[in-house]
Symmetry: C2
Subunit: 242 residues, 2 copies
């Protein structure tokens, strides 16, 4: 079964989803909002693009060419149809490819910005996870680890290019160590909190490839209040309709 | 000139200050609030104790013995008098000593908790800083660097002992790398924001010596709202009077 949804309040965008695979997540929406394309930004890549929500969102705020990469054939097919449905085939290209080894297929240092909503969880081979399942592959590090992604990003990204990622707060220490190991500098961090009085569960990270130190820790992002979404989340959801 | 102030709203505590040296800071108050002594906590050390605000605050919430260490003789003298003034000589000892090499004077792994409000700024030898000035020594890494402090803490602290520090948010990346290098695990992080809509400028850090991974990112701490202090800051200031 397949459904076509409005991409939230976004300006006329539609998105095809298959509930048995996964729907685009709040994380992807927040990541797309967090990315800061410049006028000079020419090429953006989205790794593990799923059904392409991040390229769709980004098309609203940049003229840059966007390449989405998705390894799962059935998910890739939906991503392609989402780009066609929204008449974005000139701006967005979707590739059915593996992140691992991807940099060999491109020139070094080609991209200005790379985004990624990676698998959040380490894969422990537990019997309750099926490593061929669509959702398991998207959520667990079955096919690639965080360091594997960073290694490819390093090669694909220009010097001082921006790597924007959303991840679980509980892994922030490891993320900072790995980024440092590969000579990225943290430029912006924003912690996401489910609501007031709770601990942060997600974090938005902008790291610069061989960039200079200089971190800005942005104000926290709260998702819920008074049983609904916060004003800021509503603003993000309605981007393009303001 | 010297003044005796009430230590905010704290239960009967008084503190002697000399405005030409420095007054105890909001940072020290927040750090003392952040520390979590347990019933089994026996020994706490406060490095760079200044006029001893952190030992004074901590005496309200623990029976553990507290050792404060201050290198500057004139500041040390005031710290001693503050402990006497508050009749805490049984619980608190102040040493006039250098953090550098301090661990040689104690048994290894003696302390359960070590607190530190260290110099926040790297010392660049700029002509506008006087490296003999009380405030410069407290604020700039003239006499010891962050890594120098961590090395001493490592030796003084029990395995899985807690190292609690307040620092500038802009140095969080470096702090995490140094703590990791010396095999500390981040246990709790809390970012401090001057007010809503601004970036974080300070961070509270609790790291465990040779501890297991497992980070909790606490809710943000806002200092000001509507032209005054937030409820939480007022709560911290009035500890002991609730």
């Amino acid at each position: 079964m397949e459904v076509i949804n409005d991409l939230l309040g976004y300006d006329g965008l539609k998105i095809i989803q298959r509930p048995d695979m996964f729907n685009f997540s709040l994380d992807s929406t927040l990541l797309a909002d967090f990315v800061r394309p410049l006028a000079k930004t020419k090429k953006i890549m989205d790794l593990g693009t799923g059904n392409a929500p991040i390229p769709l969102f980004l098309s609203l705020k940049t003229k840059a060419h966007i390449t989405g990469v998705e390894i799962q054939k059935e998910v890739f097919d939906i991503a392609v149809r989402n780009i066609e449905l929204n008449k974005l085939t000139d701006q967005v290209t979707i590739l059915n490819d593996d992140i691992k080894g991807l940099s060999k297929k491109f020139e070094n240092s080609e991209f200005d910005i790379i985004t990624c909503n990676p698998p959040f969880f380490k894969f422990n081979g537990a019997s309750n996870t099926n490593k061929h399942d669509f959702k398991t592959i998207a959520r667990h590090e079955v096919l690639i680890t965080l360091e594997g992604i960073i290694i490819e990003v390093k090669r694909l990204l220009k010097t001082k290019g921006s790597f924007c990622m959303v991840h679980r707060t509980e892994r922030i220490e490891e993320i900072i160590l790995l980024l440092n190991k590969h000579n990225f500098s943290l430029k912006r961090l924003r912690f996401v909190y489910p609501k007031h009085g709770e601990n942060s569960n997600a974090v938005l990270i902008d790291a610069s490839n061989n960039g200079n130190p200089g971190l800005t820790l942005l104000e926290p992002l709260y998702v819920h209040e008074n049983g609904g979404y916060t004003k800021e989340i509503k603003r993000i959801f309605n981007y393009g309709q303001e």
